[in-house]
Amino acid sequence: MSTYGTPGAGPAVFDPASLPPDDNVNPYTFCVELKGSQWFLQKGKMIAYYGSIDFNGVGHGRLDRLVRTSFHSPLHASDWVVAEGSGKMLLADRAFDVNSFDLEDGNLTIRSGNLLAFQPTLALKQSIVPGFLTLIGTGKFVAASNGPVVFMEPPIRVDPQALVGWADCPSPCHHYDHGYMTGVMGGLRALTGLGGVSGEEHQFEFVGAGTVLLQSSETLMAEQATGSVPHQAGVPGGGASGTPPGQSGAPRLPGQLGDLQRRFGL
């Protein structure tokens, strides 16, 4: 995949004809071919283009219909633009690894900051899990990750920062290292912060059929706002019920497990 094919040959030079259509140019750049078609992309991820391509903000009068059919989260529509026209455009994001994925009548949930672009044949919706977006339908999308994406089959437990997304609905839930946090030593650790934390007391657990996408680093990409959810009782992140005031929002000190202590009766 190197752009430097043979040593000494120098970098490969691309022109509009030799740029690969809908494929990676190198691990960090993806080329999208537009033939009168449309693509959704996150603002600021286009680095160059050939041909005549228009970039319009979503929710722009005549694009209203598009928003209705394939963009179901009007609350964060301002983060996205629609590219239409004909030509080839290059997408990249801070030298992260970029890859395209095909969905065929499927569903995939992805961390909002990792999604770069998608075809309007896919419908983008907010996930129930805060900070994640779900793509439903058939089509292609482009995602960035720190290091190549690794696909794993459930059952698996994943570090929260290493999770990129999941496909075909394995049920995601929290897993806590119960044995480590309870007991005399666990209580002492939670109270004093002494004894250290392994940093691995909490994972996301996936079971069931499906695929889990991992990135090879714990460095997160900048979170992209997914928009607020309706303030209703029963909506996760809606804030209308459940969490008592003052519990959330306070920064958690290292070695302190916050409300977990309370939950395990410590």
Partner: protein
């Protein structure tokens, strides 16, 4: 073998009962099976004395013990990972570059001054190693982190290797190293080449060099 490279930035380790691993805290990405992670206050092997030794030497990277049965994926900070297999010889590496290593390896600290006296200490300062470095000895595999890709350069008695101290990652084998200086009047007037200090490694073994001059 305990470590399998999945890509340049991720390794998969197989844990079986009775065979434990040490890894840097927080470096686990995902795991399958029943695996437990216990913080290691002693920062590695040995008793209290070796823990104090590491504290004094500033080589006490937070480690955790990984036990159980299953597979664990490790990666950290988007750094490139190099798996080094040791067959009885000693690996010299900075503790904060250690991502994970097998429990069969003997961990220790070494005073750089014991290898070349005052010049060894100067060398440690220049290469960012400080006055001490960590040693791992025995049979087993180590996953080492580096900024940018890593290349392995073999050292043979006839062919010593010169390395930029900032790009030095680790070395193993029967290797003597010394700092060679090429300081001249140009460096004094600020027109140096920027390569005034080099690490010269001679003997037989291998040195690992990263494609960057950035420290971890």
């Amino acid at each position: 073998m305990a470590f399998r490279e999945i890509n340049a930035k991720m390794v998969e380790a197989t844990v079986t009962p009775g065979q434990r691993l040490f890894s840097q805290r927080g470096a686990m990405l995902a795991y399958k099976g029943e695996v437990s992670f216990t913080p290691n206050t002693a920062g590695g092997q040995g008793g209290v004395m070796s823990m104090i030794g590491r504290r004094v030497a500033d080589e006490d990277t937070p480690l955790m013990t990984v036990e159980g049965s299953g597979t664990v994926l490790f990666g950290h900070g988007g750094h490139h990972i190099q798996v080094i297999r040791l067959a009885g010889d000693t690996l010299y590496v900075e503790a904060d570059r250690l991502l994970a290593f097998e429990g069969s390896l003997q961990q220790g600290t070494m005073f750089l001054g014991s290898q070349g006296g005052v010049m060894g200490m100067v060398r440690g300062q220049v290469s960012g190693q400080g006055l001490f470095t960590t040693t791992l000895k025995g049979h087993g595999a180590v996953a080492v982190m580096a900024h940018g890709g890593v290349i392995e350069l073999p050292i043979t008695p006839q062919r010593p290797v010169h390395v930029d101290p900032q790009a030095y990652v680790a070395h193993h084998g029967d290797v003597r190293n010394k700092l060679s200086t090429a300081l001249g009047w140009r460096d004094m007037v600020g027109r140096g080449s920027g390569e005034a200090f080099q690490l010269e490694l001679s003997g037989s073994g291998a040195v690992y060099v990263q494609a960057s001059e950035e420290k971890l």
